[in-house]
């Protein structure tokens, strides 16, 4: 059994403010994408990593990743217009021997290797689809169109979904094929697309460190978390 990890990294990530594409924003001196790919490639369970880059930047992303010491084999392919297009293109590039596919956000640069391995293990142990989750700690309310509060949300049955998400390759391919045919590819994450086929999506415990960097404040949080990690002697 062989495991590939896909990183769709063709988006702009406008919420982080103007400038470079989100995946190329610097964290501790290296682009977010490099951190994310490094964690995947160092995970024992992962045999290859495929990054979907903006089509005009395939060569430069390939050069960027070659500059950093990364464990597993890393390929760069041209991504698409939407995240889902990018995942589909990366899937199409996988060799036949791959039967487990992880999909990881470039914007979760600090997801630890142990998390990557635990997601891959859950698929290997028989789950068709796996998503790491955390408890919801924010207080969340439902609002109407006018911004009035309708009611607070009961958090007990809810979880925050993270990545990497893991899939039996055939399940993920089928989900993206159906989503593309329905024109609904940009709705929801990969687990949601698979779920729509009626396939069960199993949860495993996520990681505090696998948080999403999407606003400028998240980048500050990631810098602080990285500094603490380096102080503990972890690269």
């Amino acid at each position: 059994m062989s495991v590939a990890a896909i990183v769709p990294a063709a988006g702009r990530g406008e919420r982080l403010g103007p400038g470079a594409p989100k995946a190329l924003r610097l964290l501790g001196g290296a682009p977010l994408l490099v951190h994310a790919v490094r964690a995947l490639s160092r995970a024992r369970s992962v045999d290859m990593v495929v990054v979907a880059a903006p089509p005009v930047e395939v060569a430069s992303v390939r050069a960027l990743l070659a500059d950093h010491e990364l464990g597993a084999e890393v390929e760069v392919v041209a991504g698409g217009r939407t995240r889902s297009d990018s995942v589909r293109r990366a899937l199409a590039s996988l060799p036949p021997g791959v039967d487990i596919v992880l999909v990881h956000d470039a914007a979760r640069p600090l997801a630890p290797e142990e998390l990557v391995d635990s997601v891959a293990r859950a698929v290997r142990d028989g789950a068709d689809a796996v998503v790491p989750v955390m408890a919801v700690t924010d207080a969340i309310i439902r609002v109407d169109d006018g911004g009035r509060v309708l009611d607070p949300l009961d958090r007990s049955g809810l979880r925050v979904a993270q990545t990497p998400q893991g899939f039996r390759r055939a399940a993920l391919e089928e989900a993206h094929r159906v989503a593309a045919a329905n024109g609904s590819g940009s709705l929801g994450d990969d687990a949601a697309l698979v779920s729509r086929l009626g396939i069960g999506v199993l949860t495993v415990p996520g990681s505090e460190e696998a948080f999403l960097v999407t606003r400028p404040i998240d980048l500050v949080l990631a810098e602080a978390a990285l500094a603490r990690r380096r102080a503990r002697g972890v690269r």
């Binding site: 919420r15 998503v131 989750v133 919801v136 700690t137 924010d138 207080a139 969340i140 309310i141 439902r142 609002v143 911004g147 009035r148 509060v149 309708l150 009611d151 607070p152 949300l153 049955g157 809810l158 979880r159 925050v160 979904a161 929801g188 994450d189 687990a191 949601a192 779920s195 069960g200 999506v201 199993l202 949860t203 505090e208 999403l212 999407t214 606003r215 400028p216 404040i217 998240d218 500050v220 949080l221 810098e223 602080a224 978390a225 500094a227 603490r228």
Partner: protein, 216 residues
């Protein structure tokens, strides 16, 4: 109209409320923001037990002359700026709603999960907001809602923002939302504390020199 700010502090808040942030306890930053708000007349700290934030609030309010507006703030949100406090108070005057909460967009992907650990539906983030504090409520409205809820208060959530908005929405009180400050994060672990330090440092760098160099 008098504006009273209340900071309920529970035993479980204490660990981080007392932690040092840029040279002073987290709670002091919270109190400084409230005192620094032009709209606030008085600030009180209310020690409460974890399970009974709302009953303690009702009790504290019943012992005082009625305030025109009550601002309730979380002791673990040291970076919410004084301007945000003034904005929630001002929002009461602007809107027909007698309560106002600052909110932020939901950036996480939220999914329902069943008892066997399988994922159900994915929520449409656009329909939801993350609430923070300070929350402003017309004093009379808050008093009435607390009295009407009666014994039900004891069953409220231990989370201040949740318990207060639940109380108000259960009692049919209209609550307006306004854009919160991303800095109103709740400091509940080491990473948040480190983040708060970093944000305070960058805030100081941005501050004009005249505000920084005070004559001694």
């Amino acid at each position: 109209m008098s504006v009273l700010a209340i900071v309920p502090v529970t035993p479980s808040d204490l660990a981080f409320a007392q932690r040092e942030l840029a040279g002073r306890p987290v709670l002091e930053h919270v109190l400084a923001a409230l005192r620094g708000a032009a709209s606030v007349d008085e600030v009180i700290v209310l020690p409460v037990d974890d399970a009974v934030i709302l009953p303690a609030l009702a009790d504290a309010l019943s012992r005082r002359s009625a305030a025109g507006v009550v601002v309730v703030h979380d002791p673990l949100r040291p970076l919410a700026p004084p301007t945000l406090v003034d904005e929630v108070v001002a929002a009461l005057g602007r809107s027909a709603a007698p309560a106002a909460v600052p909110v932020l967009p939901v950036t996480d992907t939220l999914k329902s999960v069943d008892r066997d650990g399988y994922v159900g539906r994915t929520l449409d983030r656009a329909l939801y907001q993350v609430i923070c504090t300070p929350i402003a409520v017309a004093g009379a409205t808050l008093g009435t809602a607390l009295a009407a809820a009666g014994a039900g208060l004891a069953r409220a959530s231990a989370d201040l923002a949740v318990s207060l908005t639940s109380l108000l929405s259960d009692q049919g009180v209209a609550i307006a939302t306004l854009p919160g400050a991303v800095e109103c994060l709740r400091v509940t672990d080491e990473a948040h504390l480190a983040l708060a330090e970093a944000l305070l440092a960058s805030r100081q760098e941005r501050a004009p020199r005249t505000q920084r160099s005070r004559p001694r």
